[in-house]
Amino acid sequence: MDTSQIFVTLTGIGLAAFVVWYFFFGKRETQSATLTNSGIQEVAVTVKGGYSPDVIEVVKDKPVRLKFYRDETSSCSEELVFGEFSLRRELPAYETTVIDILPTKAGTFEFTCGMNMLRGRLVVR
């Protein structure tokens, strides 16, 4: 093994480890919903290569309004799937799509893009 081989091997293994750590064990951005005067829990979510915030905390049995603003044209994020609530909604680029749901049971429910690559979680307490 020459120097460049050792360099490439070590760099490669380091990169692979970084990829695994970065994508699978990284910390997520969490936001609790704010309660409006009318009793609706509201959260604005920006869709741009992912969801910000990607963990949304709400309380159960109170209506939730999620405002998804899609800030890109990439087709990866054009659909939003919320399996628990039987929702598959198109998110037009540079527009806000309002999604109203009523969580009636506690738990963690995932929302994803149409291909299940981008993901976020709704935590109902």
Binding site: V8, T9, A16, G49
Partner: protein, 758 residues
């Protein structure tokens, strides 16, 4: 007396507490013409019932504004068609932009490819070398590749970067890293070829690879966008059924208004050949209406005063007016659209594995690509190891296709549920569709499912040759017309069918559990069972008794008709089997499903009906709670049970069954207990539902198999796993073509479901 009433929902802004609610309610209640106002703090909405001739929506808004709040009208979902149109226009524009990006990439890729190929011909290479020098040629290639990257492929790099910030990785990540690596390497070779040459590495560029990959991926996207549009064709068709305008009657004048202006209580005029604007009740006129688009029922339905009509259906023959009873999102059409959309948005359990894999797919592929690079860099000779490792690294990233995995299930579910809706089969969610293909036993509720659910005269046996048959019928119908008993209704229906003229009946009396008697045309007439004859001191002839016994043995209910103390006819009434039931049972059995009948009738009657349709297993004497037990018993036998019922009386059993099928919902589509709702009362639709489910599941399995096997074979091949044994390597350009086609293949396969014959 009915008064004109309209309802409107307003969104109220500025309310903070219960006293605000009271203030708004009070402001509305004191407005003349307002009949009822309900304000909800949580939803910030006011629902107001008002008399449209006394007050209008603008006046209501003013009243609310005077109280210190602002109000905006919530348009019901009436403009769904307009929304759909806007979406369509937007998609079209996106599609055009995509196509443009593809064309630019493709043209440039062709030029880049041709120029790159010059290297293959020594004489041409020599010519370029002399004229420009190799480095200059590389600069030309770089200049040509830049627009491909910065214009056509820009979105992939931006999106991959954004995803990276979110610790997410998508297909864009793979494309960006793959083409980015090839491009970056080529730029270094172009700028500093000596760096490579001093290590004995041939200074080769990969601009052709970069441009071709982007062009091919864009081609895949163009084809994918086209196919994707077709997967939601069914829902578009449903939304398109909605009328755009309605002609309403105001003060005797016909006014054409936009559909979202129509409110409950409006009187709408419909001419022959026109689409019915919204749901309502016929006030005046007779016509036949084609409801096939909603229910799948192919024959037009006769409609007269008082009958319900539905928005989106087509008036065929007559002109009529109707009062709007439901508008916007409350209409049957809107409910069907919502149901289908919900089903299309739901996830099938079979998708779980694909979801798990696609969730980790991209980072795993990136790791595999890095390891591929490391391994080949260590194994190959020093002069070729860098390009070799690079090409395989790029090929792995490009061939991997998470999209095919992600598309496999949902597209088939979309096409399948849409296909069902076209046939009046509404599937609640993907899970129901999946469950339905496993059904091994079907429990049919007899009444209303196998049979018509209403008593019908099956036999009319005259006993007195001296009175003509028609006259007996005429007298019987004249008497029974006064009774409300279902058996009497069957006799009246039977007689009226024969066009009988009626006499008035005097001294009519109905005796519960026995029958009825009265004076018709001066004769004393009694119609009822043996008990009634006994009360009337009439002794039936042995011939009449025999006829009655024979009919009872056939599981029919019999009544005697007596005129002036003599039995003149025996009438048999039974709940008759629908014409299509036998065919449907045979078809279900042919699918390998055990068909079991469930009924509250006694064993004998039950077996008689069962035999008529070819059913051998019967649960008789079942009470309503017994229906659940029957379902449980079949489940205990290890069967996946579907229960078919009317959805109202047997809701608990439908819920207990693995698949609850409500039949004959007509336009009452919101059947909570049912996983599948059939709009028509035709058992053959159960067969269709099962077949649709089986076809859809087969399609999903094909898609998933293809998507899995494609990646499982493609990635190792691209990594060069076979190279030591066969010398096979995968060019990144071939990998790009395969990747682009994999998603399109899955979509095309799902679209095949549209042409399945049900």
């Amino acid at each position: 007396m009915k008064t004109d009433q309209s309802t409107v929902t307003l969104e109220i802004n500025g309310m903070h507490c219960a006293s605000c609610v009271a203030a708004v309610e009070n402001a509305l209640a004191t407005t003349p013409g307002v009949q009822k106002a309900a304000v909800n703090l949580a939803s910030e909405k006011a629902t107001i019932a008002f008399a449209p001739q006394r007050v209008n929506v603008e006046m209501l808004k003013t009243a609310i504004a005077n109280a210190g709040y602002s109000a905006t009208e919530i348009k019901h979902d009436t403009n769904r068609a307009a929304q759909a149109e806007a979406t369509e226009t937007r998609k079209h524009a996106e599609y055009d932009a995509l196509k443009h990006r593809f064309v630019v990439a493709a043209l440039l890729a062709v030029v880049i490819m041709l120029l790159s190929m010059t290297m293959l011909f020594p004489s041409v290479e020599h010519f370029f070398h002399e004229m420009l020098g190799m480095q200059a040629l590389n600069y030309v290639l770089l200049a040509l590749t830049l627009p491909v990257l910065l214009y056509s492929g820009r979105e992939y790099y931006v999106s991959a970067y954004n995803s990276f910030l979110h610790r997410a990785a998508t297909m864009d990540t793979l494309i960006a890293v793959g083409t980015g690596a090839a491009f970056a390497y080529s730029v270094v070779v172009t700028v500093a070829p000596a760096l490579f040459e001093q290590h004995g590495i041939r200074a080769e560029v990969y601009y052709d690879t970069t441009a071709t990959i982007i062009a091919l991926i864009l081609l895949g996207k163009v084809l994918e966008a086209r196919a994707k549009g077709q997967t939601s064709a069914a829902i578009k068709k449903l939304v398109g059924l909605q009328a755009k305008t309605a002609r309403i009657l105001v003060g005797g004048q016909e006014n054409e208004i936009a559909i979202d202006q129509v409110v409950v209580g409006n009187v709408v005029v419909v001419r022959p050949g026109e689409k019915i604007a919204t749901d309502g009740e016929i006030l005046e006129g007779v016509s036949s209406v084609d409801e096939s688009m909603l229910t799948g029922e192919s024959f037009p339905i006769e409609k007269t005063q008082g009958m319900a009509v539905f928005g989106g259906t087509v008036n065929k023959t007559g002109r009529f007016t109707f009062r709007a009873t439901k508008v916007g999102s409350d209409t049957v059409l809107a409910q069907i659209v919502r149901l289908v959309e919900e089903a299309q948005g739901s996830k099938a359990p079979i998708q779980r594995l694909a979801d798990k894999i696609s969730g980790v797919f991209v980072p795993v592929v990136v790791v595999i690509a890095i390891l591929t690079f490391v391994v080949w860099f260590n194994l190959m000779p020093a002069d070729t190891r860098l390009p070799f490792a690079l090409v395989n690294f790029v090929a792995v990233l490009i061939i991997a296709c998470p999209c095919a995995l992600g598309l496999a299930t949902p597209t088939a579910i979309m096409v399948g549920t849409g296909k069902g809706a076209e046939h009046g089969i509404l599937i609640r969610n993907a899970e129901s569709l999946e469950k339905a293909h496993q059904i091994s036993a079907i429990l049919l509720d007899k009444t209303g499912t196998i049979t018509k659910g209403e008593p019908t005269v099956t036999d009319f046996v005259p006993m007195d040759k001296t009175i003509p048959r028609e006259q007996i019928i005429q007298i019987a119908v004249s008497l029974e017309k006064n009774s409300e008993h279902p058996l009497a209704a069957a006799i009246v229906h039977y007689g009226t069918r024969e066009g009988t003229q009626l006499f008035p009946a005097q001294s009519f009396e109905a005796i519960e559990g026995k029958g009825a008697y009265g004076i018709v045309d001066g004769k004393r007439v009694a119609i009822g069972n043996a008990k009634l004859l006994a009360t009337e001191n009439i002794v039936p002839t042995s011939e009449a008794t025999q006829a009655a016994e024979r009919l009872i043995a056939e599981a029919k209910t019999t009544v005697f008709v007596a005129i002036d103390g003599r039995v003149v006819a025996v009438i048999a009434v039974a709940d008759v089997v629908r014409e299509t039931s036998r065919e449907a049972v045979a078809a279900l059995q042919a699918l390998g499903i055990e068909v079991v009948m469930l009924t509250g009738d006694n064993q004998k009657t039950a077996e008689h009906i069962a035999a008529q349709v070819g059913i051998t297993r019967v649960f008789a004497d079942a009470l309503p709670q017994g229906k659940i037990n029957a379902v449980k018993q079949l489940q205990a036998e290890g069967k996946t049970v579907a229960m078919v019922g009317d959805g109202i009386n047997d809701a608990p059993a439908l819920a207990q069954a693995d698949v609850g099928i409500a039949i004959g919902a007509g336009t009452d589509v919101a059947m909570e207990a049912a996983s599948i709702t059939l709009m028509r009362s035709d058992l053959r639709d159960v067969v269709k539902a099962v077949e649709l489910s089986r076809q859809t599941m087969a399609n999903i399995k094909q898609n998933l198999f293809f998507a899995f096997i494609y990646n499982v074979l493609g990635i190792p091949l691209a990594a060069g796993l076979l190279y030591p044994f066969t010398g096979w390597l995968l060019s990144p350009m071939i990998a790009a073509a395969a990747m682009a086609m994999s998603s399109v293949s899955v979509l095309t396969n799902a679209l095949r479901l549209r042409s399945v014959k049900l």
